[in-house]
Symmetry: C2
Subunit: 144 residues, 2 copies
């Protein structure tokens, strides 16, 4: 018989797993062809190291989250899972913060560095990155 | 009589406090007048939201780190300190990741977004930001 507390924990882990998976897919598929004056270019996540880090971190946590679903709380491994939860939460926080910081520059630009905002040119790409960040935040909500 | 373990914990907290304080001071005093073609401008931390966040987060942790020095481990508040340690570590991780992501763009630029690297123009400013990030990392090393 599964206890209600265990069931709740499983449900939360399942949602967190879904959210990291969604974050990876949304970010990894985000790309758009844009044009800036005469220049045409393709915006994609792999051009920006912070977004690459976001995808890698979320992919790692997705795999971990999947494996952790199958470890019963009576197992001697459970203490390890609790410790790893903390480590991977920190990894997620770090990757989301980094991606968010670059996304903010993309949205608002940085006039003192002469960086122009790019979201006007590649609106769909920007929305998709925003979606991935929202999915990333969901994970943090559920994992804490 | 102070126990050796308590003494070690105090020492680590003192170093972490010093490192956050150093990170705040180094980042907050970082500014340089640069020129880019005919344009002259002043680079300072407050132009970049991610660097502002870094300063604010480190300032909060500095104040907390100072107060935590005076709470004895026998106090009923000690459990709160242990919980807050975790919360503030996450805050620091987040602020360092965000600042690092923007600093990386400053150093390398991002050709697909058309953002040029700025460190060639404001070398001193860039070095100071790097110094602040190094100080921030020291804290993480000591607090974990």
């Amino acid at each position: 018989m599964v206890k209600p507390k265990r069931l709740l924990s499983l449900l939360l882990r399942l949602i967190a797993f879904g959210a990291t998976l969604a974050a990876v897919i949304i970010m990894a598929t985000s790309h758009e062809k844009g044009s800036f004056f005469a220049l045409s270019y393709e915006a994609k996540y792999s051009d920006t190291p912070a977004f690459k880090y976001f995808v890698i971190a979320n992919a790692i946590v997705t795999v971990y989250g999947f494996l952790a679903l199958f470890i019963p709380s009576e197992s001697p491994l459970w203490r390890l899972v609790l410790a790893l939860d903390l480590v991977f939460t920190m990894l997620l926080i770090s990757s989301i913060s980094a991606a968010l910081a670059v996304a903010q520059v993309g949205k608002k630009g940085n006039s003192s560095a002469g960086w122009l905002p790019v979201c006007g040119q590649v609106t769909k790409y920007c929305n998709q990155v925003t979606g991935a960040l929202v999915a990333g935040y969901q994970v943090l909500g559920f994992s804490s």
